[in-house]
């Protein structure tokens, strides 16, 4: 199941050229600065840019090629706009059912009751959309799109217009929707924390072209890409809960490269969890420290070392099993420890956060 994108679009002062295939499962983030063309790419997929040329195939179904252009209203997709674009003349329920009513009964995989429960909209159904909060409006916009039982869900910075509190409120709903409905998502964003929290796959865009594409945890740790060199550079690890240390208020996790402890989290044994480890929170030791306050110590191998924007810093990529960690250390430490690719060392992780 793939989405084949070969699209060209020209506007005065801007050119979009995309030629790639992405998996039609999980969440694919389309990431880049404002103006890099990520929203335009999403609009091309939706059929909202009639001047786009090229070929677009979703799960083997041709949506566009040299001779065909399926109009937006015939493409089985859901689109969540940045500003929601709810219909002000309809109630919350009217908005939710607008697309649902327009698809054949046999295609209605997603039901209004489920969406209302999943997105916490039961109490709002009879409200006017002008009376509800920004976060609630975006939840209605998501529910409305999901209720068309789309083959792919397109989300254009759905959280960008919200304040931090509304964002925090809506993210769990978003994750739940992804987990329970397993609809592939193309998620446009310029906020790396949203992306590391939600995405499995990533398209990195720059000036109308795709700079890099691949699994999220690879792309955010690649030394030749800008993401690993930002102040917030981090690695993402998928781990499993193995138990709790109730006396010390800790939760124990395991992943293919070792085990980690985090502050007691409200999770069940064998729950899957995604954690983020910032490059600046990782220190490197040549031997296993026995007298450190740092609990998380992983045996790792140095993959490579690259320059960081600050001349006094370097970025070290470390392999912990199949997982990759980033460590930002000083150039002096690099020389002092004489780190070379292939060296077996210990990574001391000062802080692990659930994304």
């Amino acid at each position: 199941m793939t989405i084949e994108l070969r699209l060209r679009l020209e506007r005065p002062g801007f050119r979009l050229t995309v030629d790639t295939q992405i998996p039609a499962r999980g969440v694919t983030a389309v990431f880049g600065r404002s103006g890099c063309g990520k929203t335009t790419l999403l609009r091309c997929v939706a059929g909202l840019e009639p001047s786009a040329r090229g070929r677009l195939v979703v799960n083997g179904e041709i949506w566009q090629d040299e001779t065909r252009f399926i109009p937006a209203h015939r493409r089985p997709l859901g689109y969540v706009f940045q500003e929601g674009q709810l219909f002000p003349h309809l109630s919350v329920e009217g908005n939710l059912r607008y697309g649902y009513r327009r698809i054949p009964a046999d295609d209605r995989v997603v039901q209004p009751g489920d969406v209302a429960r999943l997105l916490g909209l039961e109490a709002l159904l009879h409200r006017r959309v002008t009376e509800i909060s920004g976060g609630q409006r975006q939840r209605v916009a998501m529910g409305r799109a999901l209720l068309t039982s789309p083959r792919v869900l397109l989300m254009d910075e759905p959280l960008a217009a919200l304040d931090a509190i509304s964002k925090a409120e809506i993210l769990p709903y978003l994750e739940r929707a992804h987990d329970e409905l397993s609809i592939p998502v193309l998620y446009v964003s310029h906020a790396i924390d949203e992306v590391t929290r939600l995405a499995d796959h990533m398209l990195l865009m720059e000036d109308g072209v795709i700079r890099a594409e691949g699994p999220l945890r690879e792309l955010i740790t690649r030394g030749d890409l800008p993401l690993a060199h930002t102040a917030g550079a981090a690695a993402v690890i998928e781990a499993r809960v193995t138990g709790h240390d109730d006396r010390h208020h800790l939760t124990e996790l395991e992943f293919e490269g070792g085990s980690l402890v985090i502050s007691r989290a409200n999770l069940e044994r064998s729950d899957r969890v995604r954690v983020r480890i910032m490059a600046r929170d990782v220190a490197i030791n040549l031997t296993r420290p026995l007298d450190s306050s740092v609990l998380n110590c992983l045996q790792v191998r140095v993959l490579d070392v690259s320059d960081d924007p600050h001349p006094g810093h370097v970025l070290v990529r470390l392999a912990a099993g199949d997982a990759i960690l980033l460590a930002r250390i000083t150039r002096r430490s690099l020389e002092h420890l004489a780190l070379e690719p292939g060296a077996d060392v210990y990574a001391l992780v000062k802080s692990v956060a659930i994304t």
Partner: protein, 226 residues
């Protein structure tokens, strides 16, 4: 009782006026809606020229409009030259004249309403499987309903108040082309102020009631749908 106040001929003029205004409004909605949609969405270089033509009846003396329509419809006009009927001094001719005369009163409110809707709501509807006609009925019309109400009321009321154009192309045939405004003019010329009072009062009350209704309904819509 009514006959003590108003003569059968004046009653016929009143009925004809209302019929003319109703037919004109319907024709204007049918023609003006696509025109207003085009004006609200187009980036064509002809947009300004078309907008100016639509607005012409606002500034031209009705006699000028009436004169040209008379030339168009009359016995030596292009319509007859192409084998069409002579439409001067007929009800159809009046409708054509009124449509042109009241065009801006329908097109401009609709155009403003359509322009205010924005592309986003329509794109959202398209992504929810609504085709073009479906989008027009379920998104454009409800969101532009204040514009439609204004267009209907102004188009109707303005046609009721028409004088110069009708006089030029309709003449003054009682029961066929004589509308209220012309009947009033005749009464005043004949120094029959009593009849002129009745008709003028009716027109004044009718116009006031129409506008009052419009503003009341639009005020309510504004309150629930900012």
């Amino acid at each position: 009782m009514l006959h003590e106040w108003i003569s059968p001929q004046d009653l016929a003029a009143l009925w004809l006026t209302l019929k003319l205004a109703a037919v004109t409004t319907v024709v204007l909605l049918i023609l003006g809606t696509p025109l207003a949609l085009w004006l609200a969405r187009t980036q064509s270089r002809f947009k300004l020229a078309v907008e100016s033509v639509v607005a012409l009846p606002l500034v031209l003396p009705p006699t000028v409009i009436g004169f040209y329509i008379l030339i168009l419809l009359g016995s030596q006009g292009p319509i007859q030259a192409l084998g069409g009927p002579s439409l001067a001094f007929t009800f159809t001719g009046l409708v054509i004249g009124s449509v042109i005369y009241s065009l801006p009163f329908v097109v401009q409110p609709l155009q403003n309403a359509f322009a205010g809707i924005g592309a986003g709501a329509l794109e959202a509807a398209a992504c929810l499987r609504a085709g073009p006609w479906d989008r027009f009925v379920t998104v454009v019309i409800p969101l532009a309903r204040r514009g439609f109400l204004t267009a209907i009321t102004l188009g109707f009321a303005h046609t009721v108040g028409e004088f110069g154009v009708v006089l030029m192309i309709g003449g003054n045939i009682p029961g066929e082309t004589q509308v209220v405004s012309i009947a009033i003019y005749d009464h005043v010329e004949a120094v029959d102020y009593a009849s002129a009072h009745v008709l003028s009062g009716l027109l004044l009350a009718l116009s006031f009631l129409m506008l009052l209704t419009l503003y009341t309904i639009n005020g309510r819509i504004r309150m629930v749908m900012p």
